[in-house]
Subunit: 127 residues, 2 copies
């Protein structure tokens, strides 16, 4: 199965411009071209794009994704290094989740605080 750039964009959740941008900066390999010179993405290409969007969603900077892409390009010999990168990144994501959780607690507290204010306010009116 092959996909036009518009289809690849739709399925990966990236924009067409972003797809071309990622190619330009070496984050994705240049895909095949059809007879008219247009990009023709394979299922493998799509899989990689989807994985990249996962990394991006978790806040991995582009230069790190590029490093990962370069290692991947060099084949099985770099599997250990890549695994190490994912391992460290996973720890960073877990830390980020913990950080967000603790901020959630602050939000909960603030929202409760506002509810008390409202309560007092209503009482003030009805009393």
């Amino acid at each position: 199965m092959t996909y036009s750039i518009a289809q690849a964009a739709e399925r990966s959740g990236l924009s067409i411009d972003t797809l071309r941008y990622y190619e330009r900066i070496g984050l994705v390999d240049p895909p095949a071209r059809d007879s008219g010179g247009r990009r023709s993405y394979s299922d493998d290409d799509l899989g990689w794009l989807v994985f990249l969007t996962r990394l991006r969603t978790t806040g991995m900077p582009i230069r790190m994704m590029r490093e990962y892409a370069q290692l991947r390009h060099r084949g099985a010999a770099t599997a250990g290094r890549r695994k190490q990168m994912l391992f460290e990144h996973r720890a960073a994501v877990r830390a980020r989740i913990a950080e967000l959780q603790s901020c959630l607690d602050v939000l909960d507290y603030k929202i409760t605080h506002y509810e008390q204010i409202e309560h007092t306010f209503v009482e003030g009116i009805t009393a």
Copy 2:
């Protein structure tokens, strides 16, 4: 208790430049000045700065923090609107956590996958 800009920076976790920047864009009220014209932050100022850093940590854009700051400035009458903002923001933070969690699952899967490759590789060498 009052604090110099350096102390306020240290306690809020923001840089001195960021503190002045936040003041410039109306995110924090201009603090008092000492006899030499230097900023002198109060405990209240500090509390607000710390709260802002929480909002920033959770990814609230600056224009929204500014909107919140402006409502806050208008007093108790805007408490409902502010609560609503925090309420919606909390939902966004929760969604973000869920998104990160699901990406974590992908990372877990990938890391396990690499472990299997390593395992195979080692077996290949020793066999």
